[in-house]
Symmetry: C2
């Protein structure tokens, strides 16, 4: 039985490799703070919080919740051209949160670290009616001073994305409607994969503009458009998606494609030559271009249909 | 009116110096993560969460809540022999949380950074019924590889504390009982000061064992005793406290002194010579010694009275 914070720390320290077996020169869980030796490197530092019934349901299973809480930070780091070094976890739990829940949650977090890097080095557990998980991450760059930023889009650049768009949103939709199919989409929602490899490749190919796609294309592309002070034109017909989504959404498809979040893909922007080096390996799909630096508009166009869509991206203030 | 996360970021970016004016080589709020240039230094990384009605009441004022949320992390860093470089803030707020509340909260955080170091470089805002604030910090060491750790207490060492003990707890007690006096104690609770200067001095004097006093002497000394595998003997009559506390607590005084939390003082442990160097400057008071490394007992003694106290420290699992 876990009755105290000490027992909690003992429990997680003894049971999870990525807490127990940190590098020799580091200090992890069990003191006031963690010490991370990253001699002579930029440190990339971010955080992300998830709240019960806002970002997840307990019915999704805490292993998925733990996994996603880490992956969302690994994805933020990938969106910077960095990889995870260490995480701290602040956990708000109530008396209904069982030892099994803790175990599943940390299994999910540990597994995500095993798969995509980083160690769990500290945190805090507090009492909270609604469960929340707030994770912070620090990461390193692949190459000193080489980052993927939002304010580096230039007129003439092309816009590309990794993977298929709308998968996680479709999975969430299928789960909420209790549909029996759409296994791949549900997996994308419950166990998303951050694009570590593609981030590294982007840096290697000299790409300097990009971000992770967590709040939907419309919302996230607007961020790049505003931050770089350019307009962006997207060809709706080029957005890569699984044909299953046609069945799921019918006439709402394009609206869903540009608004659904949590895909954890990457948006990468650069000159055609750099972007093409990556698309040869089928890692990315070109979906649009940067067209004007006098305005900050985001235009969705279709050569096949005359569509203009004004759906909103995911915003926690609006939920 | 703040209606979106973007407006929220704009608002805090434009209004607070410690967000706006970060060093030139850094990247702060507005991208996926923050980039902190700490070339060739150990990075110290910690986090702390506070939940409404568990750690604070909205009636305490959000300026105090913001201040304390940063100070608790600055104090954790001081307890490691480090000073703050950067913070990320994950905020859970509901629709009742006004623009004025946000402003007060960030004023408190900004002021704490101005007073005791660090920049606010990122974070996340999510929807939550109960307000919560989860802050992560990274810090640097004053001296490479010189830290204050919990597992370095040796038999023969003396135990010292900075400042006066029980002040914050007394302030909270006075606030809860709506007592009109005890202004100094209320200030200690609402606007505690992390012991940055004393932490630096401890490192300078070669002290390697210590922690910040956040959960009360009994709880925190037990952590050192367990971590160092030694027994600790505390002379109750030596614990420094403001005589006002006699009036406030009457017969419960000693129990309160060893159990009340949030003082954000430092516990420092070392040989008499090193500790005395600091106590000459009136920075610390010796309250006990390390007596045995076969057991991990914590003994509170009084030469004047025959007291044995078994109160519990602050534990969020127990709340």
């Amino acid at each position: 039985m876990i009755k105290s914070e000490e027992q909690f720390i003992d429990f997680i320290s003894n049971n999870f490799n990525k807490i127990k077996n940190i590098p020799d020169s580091w200090i992890g869980i069990g003191d006031d703070a963690a010490s991370i030796d990253l001699s002579n490197k930029n440190v990339i530092f971010c955080s992300d919080a998830m709240v019960e019934d806002v970002h997840f349901r307990s019915s999704h299973g805490y292993e998925s919740v733990g996994w996603k809480s880490i992956v969302s930070n690994q994805s933020d780091l990938a969106g910077m051209g960095a990889f995870a070094s260490a995480f701290t976890i602040s956990l708000g739990i109530n008396s209904d949160f069982s030892e099994k829940d803790i175990s599943l949650l940390y299994k999910g977090m540990n597994d995500a670290c095993e798969s995509y890097g980083g160690y769990l080095v500290g945190g805090d557990v507090v009492n909270s009616e609604k469960i929340f998980i707030s994770i912070s991450a620090i990461g390193e760059l692949y190459k000193k001073n080489s980052l993927l930023l939002r304010n580096k889009a230039n007129v003439g650049d092309v816009i590309a994305v990794t993977g298929e768009i709308g998968e996680a949103g479709a999975g969430f939709f299928a789960l909420e409607k209790e549909l029996s199919n759409y296994k791949k989409q549900k997996e994308s929602f419950l166990k998303p994969k951050p694009r570590i490899h593609e981030s590294k490749n982007a840096i290697k190919n000299g790409i300097i503009c990009g971000m992770d796609l967590s709040d939907g294309l419309q919302k996230d592309l607007s961020r790049i458009s505003n931050s770089s002070k350019v307009s962006i034109e997207i060809d709706l017909d080029s957005i890569p998606f699984d044909k299953e989504l046609n069945k799921l959404y019918k006439k709402d498809l394009f609206e869903k494609l540009i608004s659904s979040g949590e895909d954890y893909q990457l948006i990468l922007i650069g000159d055609m030559e750099s972007i093409k080096k990556m698309s040869i390996k089928n890692e990315i799909t070109i979906i649009g271009k940067v067209v004007n630096n006098n305005t900050s508009e985001l235009i969705f166009m279709s050569s096949k249909k005359n569509i203009k869509i004004k759906s909103k991206g995911f915003d926690h203030f609006g939920k």
